[in-house]
Symmetry: C2
Subunit: 431 residues, 2 copies
């Protein structure tokens, strides 16, 4: 090993781990794994660790350090080609790097610049690289507010404690006049849906202002609450330019809306954290722009990292790519994301996991089985609003699916006596 | 073709193009290209275009429309595998989709959700997809402020009109005390550098606050201006949580700093636009998090799209991955990004292109030749601050490289009589 590189290795025993965040990466390199891991540390921290004419060394305090390195194997086909790192055989490596957070502080953008910025993705000798996980010390987590409501806060609003939530995305997603939109939401509420929400494509637009839409929905939501004896939520998508999201939040709450959504990846996690500090209602995220940087199996970030950063940023509910081929996920990935929302984590409240993707009544059991908890929400669109009997029947079909689970009856059997469930199976279950 | 899909095709003659932004995609599919392109339009606009019991059709006003489709060829090896779109042969397709901007408005997050959100990246049947370009109509561009200073504004501050700029990234990038940092910047100013800047990793940190660092640098910057008779800029990296960037901007300007930088991808383009509306000094971007979603050849976005969005968001200068293997770019890609900064574009001012990547004196000629203009800035770090004679010699070596170009003398020849250039070639030119 080059002598200069030795300073970039250490271990958990030698370091005061409260001073470090741990970045876990997978990478591929045609070169020596240890030397390349040291380069990764240099590029992400002190590339030049002294001035030309001065005796000094910034690596002690500011240098990132490899604290574990696993050689996983080799491959002849790199995950992604890079002109500066070509070879016949590529080493597949997993490293944990302890990075001193004095370099970036408890700030989402600066954390991300460090963990997945130029340093990591332009390190010479590295071909493919994927940020798998970030671990935070207690000291660092204490600087974050986290969700203001969390799972418990959302349950308190809905007054439902023993089953998963059902959140319906009103469809048609765009084009509806506020009155028509509200009418559809109303029917879904009557059918037993807990929350309705705007699609991620619908925001404060010229043909349906947030103010008017929230007003119309809230009126009918209260009417539905009276008729059903159930509490309901309306989640308005307030995705907009950052200098308008606080104003839109206030428009929503002043007009009786009791939930807001941000397209978290395009608005930005830091802007989301800014809003979270002053929300009066639960704040939900939509994953909109997540695929371009998480889809590749050995390049970019994992969705698990993104979920963790969203909980840190204060989202009370996190809509994430859910189960199913269309969402390009594995069941394990979705389960891990659900667990990241719900696990104990310093004093940071739990986020409600909302795995989405073409959900309908028949998705309830697979989701419940996969997650092993009632602390999640489904987020059907077409499965409610495209139901042959309309949104009321669609919502009812999903509540029936849960009743079948509670009574331990197969849904096909339960459908024999429940027409909405039967029609759901006929419309959505045969694909 | 399915009858439902015909409504998702049109052409430039039939549409009022002022109502549409054009998204250009490359995609791969094992299925029929036309049907799949129609699905892409549905998923990014009106997936369900009518209510269940109502006679209506939102596709006319709100539907995205394919206005051109090219079959480029076929491949047996898809760029990225997708569980829902498998086949033996994949069609490679390029489409232009006209999307009515009534759906999202002149707002960066909503635009991005539409062009590269869930719709585009989770369309059934599509395997790999890359957003290649976005074209905006005049009506839409008019809603954007763009850069406040632009290339002309930056030239006016530096009072240099006939050569490229040289911006030095002070190195060691992290760990320096403010006084030591300023001392290095001072030497680089004396050697002839136009601007110095913080590394993207250095921001308002506990060991070097923005306030103190700017104060120290500005004092010495003025001293260097007096000694050299040249005007100088200091660009402070104010990357931080979004609710602090305006405060940090004010700290910079109140202390005499005359440039600010944001790590645009982690702070977010919309937060950047928010800041751009109230800057008093030129605003620069760093590309930090760009690689995860632009590197893959047929998945994600092109860097050209990102550059365009940055100019739209108001960046006066755009630091981008520059020439060279290490930056994983092609010369054509970098050239196109430079052109996107400098081309005439409605009333939106030009952004200064700043292609970066291990620049030193020897990079000047290849950059000048590649871009065919003096309207760019180099952004050396090590090439100035790692120079054997220190930053003053490093800065001088780069100005000498430009003198050689002006006098049409090869740099090796010019180096015979210029020791700083000679030492630069010896230190950086042999790799």
């Amino acid at each position: 090993m080059e002598a200069d590189n030795e300073a970039f290795f250490s271990n958990r025993e030698q370091l005061n781990m409260e001073d470090y965040c741990i970045f876990k990466y997978y990478f591929e390199t045609p070169f020596d794994p240890e030397e390349t891991a040291a380069h990764l540390c240099r590029e992400t921290s002190t590339a030049l660790w002294k001035r030309v004419d001065v005796e000094e060394d910034f690596r002690g305090v500011h240098g990132a350090k490899v604290i574990s390195l696993k050689r996983l194997g080799t491959t002849r086909e790199p995950g992604l080609e890079a002109p500066h790192a070509k070879g016949d055989v590529y080493n597949q490596v997993e490293v944990e790097i302890a990075h001193p957070h004095i370099n970036f502080g408890p700030k989402i953008p600066n954390l991300m610049t460090t963990a997945c910025g130029e340093g990591a993705f332009f390190t010479p000798g590295i071909n493919s690289i994927k940020l798998l996980d970030i671990e935070f010390p207690e000291t660092y987590l204490k600087e974050f507010e986290g969700p203001k409501f969390g799972v418990a806060g959302i349950r308190k609003i809905i007054e439902v404690y023993d089953r998963p939530f059902v959140t319906g995305v009103v469809k048609p997603n765009i084009g509806l006049k506020p009155k028509d939109f509200a009418e559809l939401a109303y029917k879904a509420y009557l059918g037993g849906i807990d929350a309705t929400k705007d699609d991620e494509m619908l925001s404060d637009v010229s043909y349906s202002s947030t103010k008017e839409r929230v007003g119309e929905v809230v009126n009918l939501m209260h009417k539905a609450e009276d008729r059903t004896g159930e509490k309901k939520i309306f989640i308005a998508n307030i995705t907009d330019e950052v200098d308008r999201i606080m104003e839109l939040h206030d428009i929503v709450t002043e007009n009786g809306g009791n939930g807001v959504m941000l397209n978290a990846m395009t608005v930005g996690l830091s802007a989301s954290r800014m809003l979270a500090k002053r929300t009066k209602v639960p704040m939900f995220s939509h994953f909109d722009f997540i695929a371009p940087y998480t889809r590749h199996p050995c390049f970019g970030l994992t969705t698990q990292v993104v979920t963790k950063l969203q909980r840190l940023s204060g989202f009370d509910g996190i809509i994430m790519p859910g189960l199913g081929d269309r969402m390009n996920t594995t069941p394990q990935e979705v389960r891990e994301n659900v667990d990241i929302c719900l696990s104990e984590w310093s004093s940071i409240r739990k986020s409600l996991p909302i795995p989405g993707g073409s959900d309908w009544a028949g998705s309830m059991l697979p989701m419940y089985n996969a997650f092993g908890t009632v602390d999640f929400s489904m987020v059907p669109g077409r499965g409610v609003f495209g139901h042959p009997m309309g949104p009321e029947g669609g919502a009812r079909s999903i509540r029936q699916a849960w009743e079948a689970i509670e009574r331990n009856i197969p849904i096909e059997k339960y459908a024999e006596t429940h027409v909405e469930l039967r029609q759901a199976i006929e419309a959505f279950g045969k694909k």
